[in-house]
């Protein structure tokens, strides 16, 4: 089926399920996406009326991970008495994974949630499109067949959909949320098995430390430290991010590369075994920094070292929450 038709089907699925959940009062609100006000975006939306269901859409620009709206730091989904609303949440695979991981970390109670599972068909990489179009304003973006059609002033361009996907989506094996009984409706994955050879990482891994350093430096040094990547990440729910901590002030907050580097390195450290690979951080970066390389690497570390993929099994403990006598320790120094 071509992308265009898939999108229509997914949209229909979302609307049907949302209507049913609202009608049957299974949920108080539905958290989903609606059309954005400018091209290359979508707009998260909260609806509570059946008649608003048709506002819900699906396209390949629904990059925000809606699970973020459920973490305790953003406590808006409450009723007047301050009680948590029962939320139906439109879930592509990575949203489902985020929800499951958040429940492992005691941040959300899955009982309060209905996961509206949809078979995600990939998110378009906004940066790649912007790079392609350059300094010309885009008025409209649409999918036709298996192509992306870009329209703008003096501009009409057709780009192959598959090439302009997010890198994480290209390797994604959890397109629908993993199924949990009584929590999931719609299309969900039963007992997903992840098999990944991380062949997309081979080229980078073969670089020398010097080459890697230059590559990463070139990648990160435009960072303005607005922390949009952190704020959009469903796993970044700390009360006080390490970079904002004082007593003592461990790390600088300036835009010197050491400070930028340190922020991203330690954030990656904190994401290990937790990142669900939604790619929202890259999608929202105003400076267009693509963090997918780091995210893929985090998945690789978790998978290859600890045979763990985050957000698949609500009973499984992530690597940093567990320990094992038998772990590999090839990196420990030994005598010659």
């Amino acid at each position: 089926m071509v992308i265009e038709d898939q999108n229509k089907d997914i949209e229909q699925l979302i609307r049907d399920l949302a209507r049913k959940l609202l009608k049957e009062k299974e949920v108080d609100v539905i958290l989903g996406y609606t059309k954005g006000t400018i091209p290359l975006t979508s707009l998260p939306i909260v609806i509570d009326k059946v008649e608003d269901v048709d506002k819900l859409i699906w396209n390949n620009l629904c990059y925000i991970n809606l699970a973020k709206y459920l973490v305790p730091r953003i406590p808006t989904l409450m009723n007047e008495e301050g009680q948590k609303l029962k939320v139906g949440i439109v879930s592509k695979g990575c949203i489902g994974r985020a929800l499951i991981h958040l429940s492992v970390e005691h941040q959300i109670d899955l009982e309060n949630i209905k996961i509206i599972g949809i078979p995600c068909n990939g998110i378009i990489n906004r940066k790649k499109i912007e790079d392609e179009i350059g300094e010309r304003e885009i008025f409209e973006i649409s999918v036709s067949g298996d192509n992306i059609i870009i329209k703008g002033e003096d501009l009409e361009q057709t780009l192959p959909f598959n090439e302009y996907l997010n890198d994480l989506c290209k390797t994604c094996q959890v397109k629908s949320p993993p199924s949990i009984e009584n929590i999931c409706v719609g299309e969900c994955l039963e007992n997903p098995v992840i098999e990944d050879d991380f062949s997309d990482m081979t080229e980078f891994d073969s670089k020398t430390p010097e080459e890697k350093w230059e590559y990463i430096k070139n990648l990160l040094d435009t960072c303005t430290r607005c922390y949009a990547c952190r704020e959009v990440c469903p796993m970044c729910y700390c009360n006080l991010c390490f970079v904002d901590q004082n007593q003592p002030v461990w790390f600088g907050k300036t835009t010197a590369y050491s400070d930028i580097f340190t922020f991203h390195l330690i954030r990656a450290m904190h994401m290990a075994g937790r990142c669900v690979g939604c790619g929202a951080c890259s999608s929202v970066c105003p400076m267009g920094i693509d963090l997918n390389l780091i995210n893929r690497s985090l998945e690789k570390i978790a998978k290859e070292r600890f045979n763990f993929t985050s957000g698949i099994d609500p009973e499984a403990l992530p690597p940093m929450m567990a320990f094992d006598m038998e772990d590999d320790q090839e990196f420990m120094m030994e005598e010659d």
Binding site: G36, T37, P44, R73, I74, T224, K253, T254, P286
Partner: protein, 352 residues
């Protein structure tokens, strides 16, 4: 003739003439982004651009600004003041909205009891050579803020892009003096001037986003507790993109970085944002703006209510950066529209 002409292929000459005395800033492409960068090679200057992603306020008010460094020697404290404050800067290619933002910035940094001498110094030494916007973006709304794509009042020198050349007009004395120095500039013809006027009209018409800001401060003032704030903040993820990349936002944080055992350290000013929950966190643990609701409200109120109250002009220049760059697409235009729909409360209620 007051107006001159600068051929596009003369920009290298312009640069070479000025770079001896000035730090020459102009739009360049760094990675995928247009920013105002200090030019070392005039070939790097990008002239086909809408506007920079990071506003040129960065030149006056850098994201990381070392205020001073210190050393303690016994009971002596040595303070090393920042250097390079007397260096002269030229910002070439600044857009009218950003040039206007410099007025707003200086309102904040130079008025009142506390004057920021570092920034005032930099502003004093900076000359703006702006270019009108022939093709504004769909998200631009400078005309709603009493500006327009060819607004030249805030510049020192104003250029109009006439395809292969620029029409050059000195606005301030500083600008006029500079033009005199560039004696090689040729005079503009009447046709050039007419063409520029034509382009100006066209550009103004091209601004499609119109938002009604006429009564916004009056609507906002009594509606501090309106439930609309919950509505417009519901999807905010609380990042600082909108304010970090806003040409008018001036909030900063001052950090002392010390090397505890070496008796030395420095004081650094970095950008801060009212969208961060830490911005208002009290030592006691209490946070008056504890959620996105209060924080989004503060941003809107500051720009459209408090700023006009304090300085007599709107705290927004209509550049549209926040509209384009909000990760959650929480569109300022839509927020203003919703605010305008709030029914005006009756007088007696307001006075309570």
């Amino acid at each position: 003739m007051e107006q001159k002409v600068l051929k596009k292929d003369q920009i290298v000459k312009l640069y070479n003439d000025l770079v001896k005395d000035y730090n020459f800033y102009a739009p360049i492409k760094e990675k995928r982004n247009i920013i105002f960068g200090k030019i070392t090679n005039p070939e790097d200057i990008v002239l086909n651009y809408y506007n920079s992603k990071v506003p040129p306020k960065e030149i006056l008010f850098p994201q990381t600004d070392i205020l001073f460094e210190y050393k303690i020697n016994g009971k002596e404290i040595e303070i090393e003041e920042p250097k390079k404050l007397d260096e002269k800067n030229i910002i070439f290619g600044i857009r009218p909205c950003d040039a206007h933002s410099f007025i707003l910035l200086m309102n904040f940094f130079s008025q009142g009891e506390f004057k920021d001498e570092i920034i005032m110094n930099r502003r004093e030494n900076t000359t703006l050579i702006g270019i009108g916007c022939n093709t504004p973006k769909s998200t631009c709304f400078c005309t709603s803020i009493e500006g327009n794509p060819f607004q030249k009042e805030d510049m020192d020198i104003f250029l109009v892009d006439l395809q292969d050349k620029y029409l050059v007009e000195g606005i301030s004395d500083k600008g006029k003096k500079l033009i005199k120095r560039l004696s090689w500039l040729t005079d503009a013809t009447n046709a050039d001037i007419e063409m520029a006027q034509e382009l100006g009209k066209k550009a103004e018409e091209a601004i499609v986003t119109k938002i009604d800001l006429k009564n916004i401060d009056k609507i906002l003032d009594p509606n501090f507790d309106h439930q609309i704030w919950k509505e417009v903040s519901e999807i905010c993820i609380g990042c600082g993109t909108c304010s970090f990349l806003c040409p008018t936002c001036t909030c900063f944080d001052v950090i002392d970085e010390n090397v505890p055992n070496e008796n030395r350290g420095r004081r650094v000013r970095i950008w801060d944002t009212c969208q961060s929950c830490l911005y208002t966190l009290h030592t006691s643990g209490h946070n008056p703006r504890n959620s996105c609701i209060e924080r989004v409200r503060n941003r809107i109120l500051h720009k459209f209510c408090y700023y006009p109250e304090n300085y007599g002009m709107l705290g927004c220049v209509g550049c549209g950066r926040c509209v384009q760059l909000c990760p959650a697409n929480n569109d300022l235009r839509a927020i203003i529209e919703k605010i305008n729909k709030i029914e005006q409360k009756k007088e007696e209620k307001v006075t309570v």
